[in-house]
Symmetry: C3
Subunit: 165 residues, 3 copies
């Protein structure tokens, strides 16, 4: 291999590593825009985080596609939470990127405003699946299970160990 | 363009991307040192996170410049929180870097120790503005609004959508 | 210095910066796999996060080595928390990498499921020490001190200022 080819190869290898780091940032921020969207009632933005075939599944509901996500944000139930004062907060994720697909595991907390401060309404395990699209990373699936002693959230959390450590 | 010039250009482009990632880390850690500073009463360190013209604005107070930040940390109100046991925790931020300026959106939670564990005293939306100085990134403005159903925190959270997704 | 040598040096300098960013990601995810391990009772995975001489020290216990970590996860006390529904959540860390060693400071919250939502059982300051091994980064020490107005957690939090800002 010529000298220039070797240098070009070194640069390409570095560029792949930098892209992977950038992907991780993009996925963290994709996930971290969910809270601001649903806590402000920004249904269009909440919907825009999802790919066309995205599915949001929890013990509360199952939403298919951006239109159903938007409808949930505009629903009386969500609007009541917003009027009370709600905060959907994600922990920093454990992310696995595999080319144009990625998964991330987070804990989420939903805080609700009260007379004396804030209550913790729900603490859940979350598995997020994402796809790289021409417009950037988008959510394709989120499974949210409240941590209540049942096995469902354990399955999600245990997937944090599927990746090489 | 000669071969060397092309290689140098590739390296420079990569270096810009790496710097942007480094800036994101620096901004996350700048924000994440705020809690340790105010929860330990380290007024000098708390003040040192701010640029000279920095402003910290909340529904509780408006502080102008590092000296007023230090005075707040040393105030009887903050000292009482520290004696009780307080934790100012930030969520992982959504960061936008624009050259030598950056903004970040976080949720913050303040936990207070009680007889039975910890109460959640305040959950707030935060907009942080930062500037790159010769000494590193510094805070120039933070707006903190408790999430209580009022519109003020929504304006902050909605700014998480100003950046391209 | 010849042109090629200068280019190789530029590439090597960039590679060091990229490795440092990758190390930060690895350390964040090492720490963020602790919660999923202990909240699901995955004693083998919890133990596997630790180096052979790792020590986990808190006001509740002092565990020496992976086997004692595994035994704690399998203990009746931890199993009772898991049956109730527990979530060990870490804040995004302030990380200092020094070659093959690293330290990280986090706040941790432990949430417990109740009839009406979740209680915040413990909010603590954490100092994590890590080592790069042939199998990746591993924990060598964690000191966890509940934030209750006593000085011990302050010592941990103040170490977030040991690094250049």
């Amino acid at each position: 291999m010529g000298k220039d080819a070797a240098l070009r190869e070194s640069i390409a290898a570095l560029a792949s590593r930098v892209l992977l780091l950038e992907d991780r940032v993009a996925i963290l921020e994709l996930i971290n825009r969910w809270g601001p969207a649903v806590d402000t009632g920004s249904s269009e933005f909440a919907a825009g985080l999802w790919d066309d075939d995205g599915v949001l599944e929890s013990d509360l509901s199952r939403l298919e596609g951006p239109a159903e996500v938007a409808a949930m944000v505009e629903s009386e139930g969500q609007q009541a939470l917003i009027r009370q004062g709600c905060a959907h907060v994600q922990s920093a994720p454990v992310v696995t990127v595999d080319g144009d697909r990625a998964t991330a595991i987070t804990y989420s907390q939903v805080y609700l405003h009260t007379e004396n401060g804030h209550d913790v309404w729900r603490v859940s395990a979350n598995q997020w699946e994402c796809r790289r699209t021409v417009g950037g990373w988008r959510l394709t699936r989120r499974v949210n299970r409240v941590i209540d002693g049942s096995p469902a959230p354990h399955t999600i959390l245990a997937s944090a160990f599927d990746k090489p450590s």
